[in-house]
Amino acid sequence: MGGVSKRILLLLAMALLVLGAAGCGGDDDEEGGEAAQTGGTLVFAGAADPVSLDGALVSDGESIRVITQIFETLINLKPGTTELAPGLATEWEVSPDALTYTFALREGVKFHDGTDFNAEAVCFNFDRWYNFSGPAQSPSASYYYSAFFGGFAKNESEDLGDPLYKSCEARNPTTAVVTLTRPSASLLGALVQQAFSIASPKALEEFKADAGTLDEETGFRPTGTFGTEHPIGTGPFEFVSWNREDRLVLKRYEDYWGEKAKLDELIIRPIADNAARLQALQNDEIQGYDLVEPQDIPTIEGDDNLKILDRPAFNVAYVGINQAKKPMDNLKVRQAVAYGLDRQAVVDSFYGGRGVVAKQMMPPEVEGYADTVTEYPYDPEKAKQLLQEAGVQMPLQIEFWYPSDVSRPYMPNPKNNFEAMAASLNKSGFKVVPKTAPWDPDYLGRVDEGNAGDLHLIGWTGDFADADNFIGTFFQDFNPQFGFRDPELFKMLDDAEIEADRQARIDMYKQANQHIMDTLPAIPYAHTKPALAFRSDIEGFVPSPTTNELFNTVSIGGGSE
């Protein structure tokens, strides 16, 4: 045997050693990480990179998570709730006609670039949003602004409405007055969204937040660096660096007016794959991650080094009904569907103990949730009887759509939900014709256009804690998804939206919820609690139903065992 083959044999032997090591594995658990420390660095994983750190021009959750740390809004939510709390504004006053909002601003607050936060800065931001032009008006950029304020100073699309915003006046350095063109009572609730966070006017101008080239051939290309390199707000963390697809680094803002961050650094990194996020957490490469898959929860709960935190339910999963398809326009048929759905069984079987049966089209945490509504417990006989009364031939054939390749917080496995529902409907005088499509964009496109059969599975996660963001979004106008016109319901929701008196408004939404559950434009079936996972020595993270979660209270506790 020549020297070459000896060397080759040696290589082979090494390879076998490697493979052998892989085969027998090791059960000697590594001693848990670092010693006790205050400060330190926390690495948290999301599912994707942010798009931009300019709150006014994004609508995706990954961007918003980071923006929440850097920027602040006039109004906050009490941590872990949907209750309004002072933010950059310490107090506010709404005029009786719900047209004028006067905000008393917090004093002594400075932006990360050292400039003062004051009423002029607030109005600068409001005016900036209102004067967005060109691509910034696109719903892919300023979705939250146009969803709430309707339109801009100069609308560039016929699909935009009249602007709700009229003006902002800096009455003195600590008083800003926002005036609307028509009454709206949901402004305060809407202002907690990061789309309305207050940025440093100096930085917005210096780093050309709104600049960009609009090339017919290549689309809009932002040229400023505000949203990518110089996002400057007043929040507890300030921006350090962002290497795309790798890490986004934030550090403690030492001059923060409120509770200063305990961590020295917070690093956010994108890991798209669920299994990869879990293994990175087990390996202590990250100390926390969002969007935990329900099937991973037992693994995490069974590991002493890890823990699960729950977000309060802030979503609703529902069966949408398209009344444009006959005979779904018949109330009795819709009632039969409601009685024919075994919702309890679905929630018990497929939500891993993290769901409750939904009785209304919004979660109980939101003001306006009715005390009592008509309920539809599973009752196949009653369903058949209703179908008989409706005069349709049994079994009634209905097309039922569900999405494939997707898991949503409110619907971990659509196919399971669908199969259980189809089975119970088939026992209740229906004959379900199954239809499916990949979630995004195919399935969603069909649902929006009203092309997803008689029934379809879908749901909604709230943007902010206002009934208008749930039932107002679904049912305030004609919506091809549901294919009905109910002037009574439309008017109820229109009136409630602009009612300035809080209690009166709550009562109006309660009434609307009762009306909805009587007329059944859709059938809610589940609210769920999405989960986050952390190393067990991470303390102080308060999950929020609306994902407004601040990391300034988070600390790395007394070392793992």
């Binding site: 290589l11 609508s59 892919s140 969803a147 699309s157 699909d159 995004d440």
Partner: protein
């Protein structure tokens, strides 16, 4: 030779034109578009119309294609729809990652596969041969994502030796002038960073290299067996050449031809991105980039990315052809 190369390069033009048209039409034939995908559950017919107007997606398809060609002609691949960045910027970040991973995987596959196949052939019919067959079969048949999760479980979660995600540890700061992290570490003269980046490459390279390893080993074995029985080998041995010289200069060199072909073809394939490996290791390369783009109907990335990958594929194949001539003087490309 030069004429051959020039002719092959000129062939690129019709290939790319055809491909760009194909990709262009294909992605527009998919149901729903980028507007729907951008807005998800929040899309309404109005907002969709607004976005389509903005990106010129409401224009007739031939107008869209023409303006696309004009842009590409300027060396601009357009702007991505999701991140609003130039496609070329993202490409500059993604492609080096894939190249690093590809070369690491090929290094693993070649350094192990060729000796494995060679020894198997030399020990034809013995237990060495049989076990090499078993190893290759396992390499080919084990699903990558499963192998990846297993590797991570053993070497990271259990043994704590290697990282499971990304290209570099988040606690290491490194400038990225080239986006080849190994080269960046060398430029910065930072051995710790270099070691860290290498560690991040090991598991993905093994996972990605498992199939090429098996294929390379099988092909090497077959090629060596073939050559071994040739008359000129018998002649070489008969005239008393030392066995080592016969092995290297006569058997191995002649067996290299099919081996180089197969490695070359695999390089082309791997460079287009290893979707599964990249996903499981959160490795930001071409594969995950293109798959995400399909999911989000990001036309600009798909068009630019596929065009780019095709160019790379054609060029790699050209290099393989050229290397034939270098390895085997009997072959003259013309």
């Amino acid at each position: 030779m030069l004429r051959f190369i020039v002719r092959r390069l000129m062939l690129l033009v019709p290939i790319l034109l055809g491909l760009s048209l194909l990709v262009f039409l294909w992605i527009r034939a998919l149901p729903a578009g980028p507007a729907q995908s951008l807005l998800g559950e929040r899309a309404t017919p109005e907002t969709i119309r607004q976005i389509e107007e903005q990106y010129g997606l409401n224009e007739p398809i031939h107008v869209q294609y023409w303006s696309y060609l004009k842009t590409v002609g300027r060396g601009d691949l357009g702007t991505t729809i999701r991140t609003r960045r130039p496609v070329t910027d993202e490409l500059k970040e993604r492609f080096p990652a894939t190249i690093e991973l590809t070369f690491a995987a090929l290094l693993f596959a070649t350094l192990l596969g060729v000796p494995l196949g060679y020894v198997a052939a030399k020990r034809h019919g013995t237990w060495v041969d049989h076990s090499s067959l078993v190893v290759s079969l396992i390499g080919i048949s084990i699903p990558i994502f499963f192998l990846a999760i297993l590797l991570k479980y053993v070497f990271a979660v259990k043994l704590g030796l290697l990282p499971t995600v990304g290209r570099i540890s988040v606690l290491i700061d490194l400038e990225h002038p080239t986006n080849f992290y190994l080269i960046d570490a060398l430029i910065a003269g930072d051995p710790e960073a270099f070691w860290d980046v290498s560690k991040h490459l090991i598991l993905p390279a093994i996972a990605l290299g498992s199939i090429p390893l098996a294929i390379t080993a099988r092909i090497t074995r077959a090629a060596v067996l073939d050559v071994q029985n040739e008359d000129y080998i018998r002649t070489a041995r008969a005239k008393g050449l030392p066995p080592r010289t016969v092995d290297i200069r006569h058997i191995f060199r002649n067996a290299l031809l099919p081996i180089v072909t197969i490695i070359g073809l695999q390089t082309g394939l791997l460079l287009s991105g290893a979707v599964l490996t990249e996903t499981v290791f959160a490795f930001p390369g071409m594969g995950t980039w293109l798959v995400e783009a399909i999911r989000q109907r990001d036309y600009a990335i798909l068009q630019g990315g596929i065009l780019f990958v095709s160019v790379v594929f054609v060029l790699v194949n050209l290099l393989v052809d050229i290397s034939y001539a270098l390895i085997n003087p009997r072959i003259r490309v013309s």
